[in-house]
């Protein structure tokens, strides 16, 4: 161990990006809070503008910060150990995302297994059902809530099934792109990565279609249509935001590939984007099973 050649660990010089990022997050949080509060009080204010400015600033920060990192990487400042730090950092970030979705899946599970049946009088809650909501019938999907709001359920056949096929395929093409990168086949790499992006964009397109369908007068599946609509929109909505983020990552990677970045040995950013893509894919499979089918 001791005679091993030591590669020095790159500790970056001072950077102004983090403080820019902190200010941006402040603008987003404070702006969003003002915006939401104004919305509910039916007043108007500057919250929305502050929120948008914050988002613009965070994008500016990310571009600047990543440019620094990319140029450090291209000029060979990073050691193998540094690469490991990035990889581990990304893995734990994805784990934290898993736990974020776990909160919503947990809520879905609790609502289906406990709260809806209990409202219908299951367990030792006979009087809850009889006194508070005598007409309420416990069922899932919850199409008629205790206070009488009605809605319809989104079936799994059709758009959701197409989307499942699209995302699963995109995970495979992402893997082919990675294999091509490792074999240094730049041509196939561009094609497979490009195809992955196209599949991702198609998924997003169909998701928007599905939302439009849900929000139609025919389906009346709204965000506030009781817990079925709540869980449907929050789970698919957060997943959709993650797909969007993943797509942006992949597009950035595609342009970096065009510029000749990444080698078979050294391509952490590509790897991270592809991990992230596989992660959103797995979340979708869970969604498809628990939100749509079951």
């Amino acid at each position: 161990m001791t005679n091993k050649e030591y590669e020095s660990y790159y500790v970056p010089s001072q950077s102004h990006w983090p403080i820019v990022g902190a200010v941006a997050l402040f603008m987003i949080a404070f702006g969003a809070a003002n915006y939401v509060t104004d919305l509910s009080n039916e007043t108007s204010g500057y919250g929305g503008y502050l929120l948008l400015a914050g988002i613009a600033l965070v994008i500016y920060m990310l571009v600047g910060w990543f440019s620094d990192v990319i140029s450090e990487s291209l000029t060979g400042k990073y050691s193998h150990q540094m690469d490991n730090s990035f990889r581990q950092g990304m893995s734990w970030f994805i784990f934290s995302e898993v736990m974020f979705f776990a909160a919503f899946f947990g809520a879905l599970l609790y609502l289906r297994v406990f709260s809806v049946p209990w409202l219908g009088g299951a367990g030792n809650n006979v009087s809850t059902g009889a006194v508070l909501w005598p007409d309420f019938v416990a069922q899932w999907p919850l199409l008629t809530t205790p206070d009488g709001t009605t809605t319809t359920a989104m079936g799994w056949f059709g758009l959701p099934l197409i989307n499942t096929v699209l995302l699963l395929t995109s995970s495979i093409t992402a893997h082919f792109a990675h294999s091509a990168l490792i074999k240094n086949n730049r041509g196939p790499l561009k094609v497979w990565l490009g195809l992955t992006i196209v599949l991702g964009l198609a998924f997003m397109f169909f998701q928007v279609q599905e939302y439009a369908h849900g929000y139609s007068e025919e389906m009346r599946l709204f965000l506030d249509s009781g817990v079925y609509g709540n869980t449907f929109y929050l789970l698919t909505g957060f997943h959709g935001m993650h797909v969007t983020l993943g797509c942006i990552m992949l597009i950035v990677m595609w342009f970096r590939v065009l510029k000749g970045h990444f080698t078979p040995e050294n391509h952490f950013a590509f790897q991270a984007a592809s991990w992230y893509w596989h992660f959103v894919d797995v979340v979708w499979v869970m969604l498809f099973v628990f939100v749509y089918i079951l």
């Binding site: 983090p18 902190a22 934290s96 809520a107």
Partner: protein, 540 residues
């Protein structure tokens, strides 16, 4: 090997820009010691802020009747006091310790992701600006308790929910990034030859704590998001009319909340497991059992959350399951207390201020642990729930537990941080004043709770008056005593007896092999196996 200070590799410095001066140094820094200092000062300022809120609470409760604040403002005070102390004082203080000490203990040049480290810190002041700023807004500050139970925070919110939710969101981002940095630093930055089971126990406890943070902070983000949509966008996660359940809020919240409790105590275990061996001049008794006990506590923390909600409606099986699991935690915790006592057993003890705080920690934390056991028993909890007994319990584990360990650690490493010894006499005053006043403050709360005084009320029945008077006097005295600490720290930064590289003869670990104050950059090249082994030995 008292003077065996490892030369700093000065020609390695071209990696870094030179230390900037003025405000830019602190805004742009990527240095773990600078960021550690920022965290520690921020935490202390928040501690004084939260303390000031508590002083108003205790002034109102000094005698029965309403004299100083309106009930609604009282609720805002208790809520923000809790949030500030948990998320603003205790957690950032531990992150400050992690930043300062982990790279030095591991023989690493810095934290693994230094720029992200800066980001995680600087989010915090902004988050608390939003939270504390809400005092001055039309809605007022959050008034639904630090646990923000629905429907208090949804249907009956005073309009502060959105500000609260988004402040918590960015706080959570900060915590998660800080925790990822800690995990990656420990996994990836250990000096060659420092295997996991050779790491100081301090490092182990932060390692496990960081995992807990990564696992549960996102759940907090999830639950506040549902709270936001329930309050402003018409969802009904926590509203029975739409098929939801307010009790579900408590389940998800406490799934975060119970591990959160251990996030605030495991690092404390790490600190006293460092100081007690140093002043007992013995190795820590049962190192590996400490590692396993800490891990067990962390794992158990995920399956005990509903002991916070025995009275809020759960099937009987749930009550029993959570009661038994909770009691199981006493086993690994008992292992720890046993090991600390066994470390002191037949050691050559001296009672410097860090040791005084550590011993007080062991005894008083154990009292808090015992009251926790009482609360863990479901039928008994039916009486204690939401009384001052609970308040007494968690202040014993958080104040005489976490906070006392922070003081132990601060006195222990102040010479390393500042290069000066702290003023011993003042520090002893700080300890004894704190010790006496803190018990006057929190011990009678047990009796108040057993007699039935509910928590979170601005007024109370006459029979509670005498105890409350003494509690308030203890509170004011404890609050004032903390200013002594501020004086000690400022004096210690400005001057004082020059500290040697290793001011404590019983201390072990790599941080004592570098000069005091620790140079701006340490271990730019990792220490050799020989250095690691030497640093791990007692002198005699």
């Amino acid at each position: 090997m008292t003077t065996d200070v490892i030369e700093q590799d000065s020609h390695d410095e071209h990696h870094y820009d030179h230390k900037m001066t003025g405000i830019k140094r602190w805004l742009y820094t990527t240095n773990h010691k600078d960021i550690g200092t920022l965290y520690l000062w921020f935490a202390f300022i928040m501690f004084l802020t939260g303390g000031a809120l508590a002083m108003v609470i205790r002034a109102e409760l000094f005698q029965p009747g309403l004299q100083i604040v309106e009930p609604d403002f009282f609720n805002q005070l208790t809520t923000v006091h809790g949030l500030v102390m948990v998320f603003g004082a205790i957690m950032p203080a531990f992150t400050g310790f992690a930043n300062w000490m982990l790279p030095m203990m591991l023989g690493a040049p810095d934290m693994a992701l230094p720029r992200m480290n800066n980001w995680s810190f600087w989010i915090l002041p902004f988050a608390f600006a939003i939270l504390l700023g809400s005092f001055f807004m039309e809605s007022g500050a959050p008034n639904f308790g630090w646990t923000f139970y629905a429907p208090l925070s949804t249907t009956y919110s005073n309009g502060s929910t959105a500000f609260f939710v988004f402040a918590v969101h960015i706080m959570g981002i900060s915590s998660i990034m800080g925790a990822i940095n800690i995990v990656v630093t420990i996994m990836n930055m250990r000096a060659p030859g420092m295997t996991y089971m050779k790491m100081p126990l301090f490092v182990w406890t932060f390692f496990i704590t960081a995992y807990l943070l990564i696992a549960v902070m996102p759940v907090l983000a999830g639950v506040v998001t549902m709270l936001l949509t329930d309050t402003y966008f018409g969802t009904s996660f926590f509203d029975a009319a739409g098929g939801g359940d307010p009790v579900m809020f408590q389940h998800i919240f406490w799934f975060f909340g119970h591990p959160e409790v251990y996030i605030m105590i495991l690092p404390a275990f790490g600190i006293v497991s460092t100081t007690i061996p140093a002043f007992s001049r013995k190795r820590l008794f049962g190192y590996s059992s400490m590692v396993y006990a800490t891990s067990s506590i962390a794992l158990l923390s995920f399956i005990v959350w509903a002991h916070h909600m025995f009275t809020t409606g759960m099937p009987l099986f749930g009550e029993l399951f959570f009661m038994y699991c909770t009691m199981l935690i006493a086993v690994p915790t008992g292992v720890k207390v046993f090991n600390w006592v066994a470390t002191m057993w037949r050691g050559s003890l001296t009672f410097e201020t860090p040791m005084l705080f550590s011993i007080a920690f062991v005894i008083l934390f154990t009292i808090g642990g015992f009251s926790g056991l009482m609360l863990a028993m479901t039928p008994v909890d039916f009486q204690y729930h939401d009384t001052y007994f609970v308040v007494a319990h968690f202040h014993y584990v958080l104040v005489t537990g976490s906070l006392f360990s922070l003081y132990a650690g601060a006195y222990f490493w102040l010479p390393k941080w500042t290069g000066h010894m702290y003023n011993d006499t003042l520090s002893k005053w700080h300890f004894w004043c704190s010790l006496i006043s803190v018990n006057l403050l929190f011990f009678p709360m047990h009796f108040l709770g057993l007699a039935g005084m509910p928590r979170r009320i601005p007024d109370y029945a006459l029979q509670f008056a005498d105890f409350n008077k003494w509690v308030s006097i203890g509170g004011f005295a404890f609050g004032l005593s903390q200013l002594i600490f501020l004086a000690v720290v400022i004096k210690c930064i400005r001057g004082g007896e020059k500290a040697p590289a290793k001011p404590w003869d019983g201390a072990i670990g790599l941080e004592w092999t570098v000069a005091s104050p620790a140079p701006y950059h340490t271990f730019s090249t990792p220490p050799s196996q020989q250095d690691i082994d030497n640093a791990d030995q007692h002198e005699h």
